[in-house]
């Protein structure tokens, strides 16, 4: 691999094969680089929660209730203190991050796949399929998903799987609208007509040729959608209507910490900081990516 790269680029011997990546990283503004670092940390925390967390998230120690974090009178037994049941805040933060990130990844992926597919369908079939798809898009755009989610959960009762599926509806209409527009415009290009003339079927045409052409816009939309899904999940969990105990999520921790604002601020504030930093980091990365990938913004 590195030999090939050297031949192609005529690079000096000993040059790293990661050249393009390092070059890209060195062009990143410092803040965006820090955001990338933080996001990777969050992903690592979520992936290795079992190894990294000093305690289990539900492990109670009633003798150690409401202990403050280190630096505020606490000890290194519980670095970030404990909550009202003596559960370790650091461990709960790590596991809560895992659940919140997991739901956001699953939800955003469902929305991206569903929306993109609907967009392709609308652009391919036109006619009443397109009309129907646009009506669904209008319907979704006219009702905040949070209200829809609350209504559905009220009727069906709370269930983690159902909750994740609902999170998967967050922003699907944006992908559908975006994809439909881009596919329609791609269809007017010469390469699509050429492929059609060569006998390419719709799957091959859209999957192999059109999708790669519009993928960058969909990826940008993904990065913009992701933090919104985190915020939606944590808001619902904060209200006590999302992730249910004994599982934990960052929003749920904050919600239960509200009752201890005077005596133990850390229960609510620490998960709040974690949510804020995560959504901030992903939003900054998304903005940066959009500026890099969207040619219309490069002025």
């Amino acid at each position: 691999m590195s030999e090939q790269a050297e031949k192609r680029g005529g690079a000096k011997p000993g040059r790293s094969p990661f050249g393009p990546i390092t070059r890209e990283l060195s062009k990143m503004p410092l803040l965006v680089l820090a955001c990338l670092g933080f996001f990777l940390l969050v992903i690592a925390l979520s992936a290795f929660a079992d190894i990294l967390a000093p305690y289990h998230y539900a492990e109670q120690d009633l003798l150690q209730r409401l202990k403050p974090p280190v630096g505020f009178g606490g000890t290194s037994v519980h670095w970030l203190g404990t909550d009202e049941l003596g559960r370790d805040i650091l461990s709960r933060l790590i596991y809560g991050t895992r659940i919140s990130i997991l739901i956001a990844v699953v939800g955003t992926t469902i929305a991206a796949v569903l929306g993109t597919f609907v967009g392709f369908l609308a652009a391919h079939f036109r006619g009443w399929v397109e009309e129907g798809a646009l009506m669904l898009v209008d319907f979704q755009a006219s009702i905040p998903l949070m209200i829809l989610a609350l209504a559905v959960l009220a009727f069906f009762g709370n269930d983690l799987l159902l909750f994740m599926v609902i999170m998967g509806l967050n922003g699907w209409e944006t992908y559908a609208r975006l994809t439909r527009g881009m596919v329609l415009s791609a269809k007017s290009h010469g390469y699509v007509a050429a492929l059609r003339a060569l006998g390419a079927g719709p799957w091959r045409l859209y999957g192999r040729h059109v999708l790669p052409n519009i993928a960058s816009a969909i990826i940008v939309q993904f990065t913009l959608n992701f933090p919104q899904t985190i915020l939606l999940e944590t808001s619902m969990s904060f209200l006590g209507l999302g992730v249910q105990p004994p599982l934990t999520s960052l929003g749920l921790m904050l919600g239960s910490g509200r009752d201890y604002m005077i005596t133990a601020w850390w229960i609510a504030v620490l998960p709040g900081i974690m949510i804020f930093l995560t959504t901030f980091a992903v939003s900054m990365l998304g903005d940066w990516l959009r500026d890099r990938l969207d040619p219309t913004l490069r002025r």
Binding site: I143, L150, F155, F238, L239, G251, L254, G272, F276, F280
Partner: protein, 317 residues
């Protein structure tokens, strides 16, 4: 404005509303026997029979659907399971508080966001521009419930300047309004600043701005007479969509500050599974959203002659 533009928009809105009501009808039927979920557990057999007949549950599904539509049109959503009052009545009582909170917050967000965005657009790539854009990212990354809690800790608990919950006086409104105006995915001051900035940047590069300059119009006149009205068009359009955002934000903010609006009613009713109230709230919120989007569309068509041409099928400008 052409009649066709009007009619297409209105027809779309009506169809969307029909979809909303049908959606509620479907989830109501999938989730079980409506008399089980909509009537209190201790309802007598007579009451159950009465509602069975009223909702037409003994009839075929399509007839049930039309009965349901007729009931919704008459504002008949059943009784609240919590206090046995008419569900619609329970909801309507809470509307003024939410309108008060939502509109004040929207006004604050515009008041802070639009001048910031214009300033940033006029001083592009300056320090002020970068600070404004960072403020925008902060606005949509900050969870509103977290900002609310931080405000309570600072202004109510530490400094003791403001009351932490309720809605009795003007002072009670400050923290909820500011929370909603500052932290929200797309209706926050920061998001509006960002939007105003990009709308403005586009306007500044238009040829009519060059023409105005060539005519010798002074700077302030060019900004006030040529740039602002044109940049206002996209801002008006997004406001329609922001209303949904404000309502979703209000659910959380009203819970944090114990503000007696429909958001807190919704969260409470969902937790208690007071389904007649949830149903009424859902349909009323959706209707409000559809109607406000329709209004924005029509205002937009009226403000921007190019849209009228495109929407009514005439050649685009």
């Amino acid at each position: 404005m052409s009649a066709r533009f009007f009619l297409t928009k209105i027809l779309r809105a009506v169809l969307t509303l029909l979809l909303v009501v049908s959606f509620v009808f479907i989830i109501l039927r999938i989730s079980g026997d409506p008399t089980d979920i909509l009537l209190p557990d201790d309802a007598s057999q007579d009451t159950i029979e009465f509602y069975r007949a009223q909702w037409g549950l003994d009839k075929p599904l399509y007839e049930q659907y039309f009965t349901y539509l007729a009931n919704v049109l008459q504002g008949n959503f059943g009784e609240s399971l919590r206090d046995h009052r008419d569900a619609l009545q329970v909801v309507i009582e809470r509307v003024p508080a939410t309108l008060q909170l939502g509109f004040t917050a929207l006004f604050m967000a515009l008041l802070i966001g639009v001048p910031l965005g214009i300033y940033a657009a006029l001083h592009r790539n300056s320090m002020a521009d970068r600070l404004t854009m960072s403020f925008a990212v902060l606005g949509y990354s900050m969870p509103n419930y977290f900002l609310g809690i931080l405000m309570i800790m600072l202004f109510a608990m530490n400094l003791q300047w403001l009351p932490s919950s309720g809605s009795a006086t003007f002072w009670h409104a400050i923290m909820p309004v500011m929370t909603l105006a500052l932290a929200s995915p797309s209706s926050s001051a920061g998001a509006l600043a960002r939007f105003a900035r990009s709308a403005r940047l586009e306007v500044l590069s238009q040829s009519y701005m060059r023409t105005a300059k060539a005519k010798g119009a002074p700077y302030l006149r060019r900004i006030a007479w040529h740039a602002v009205p044109n940049a206002a068009i996209p801002i008006v359009t997004i406001l329609g969509f922001k209303i949904g955002d404000l309502i979703a934000g209000a659910v959380v903010v009203e819970v944090v500050f114990a503000w007696p609006g429909i958001g807190r009613l919704l969260a409470g009713s969902v937790a208690l599974r007071d389904l007649p109230v949830v149903q009424a709230l859902f349909i009323i919120i959706a209707t409000t959203m559809v109607l406000s989007n329709l209004a924005v569309d029509l205002i937009y068509g009226w403000l921007d002659p190019r849209v009228r041409g495109v929407m009514s099928g005439k050649a685009a400008a």
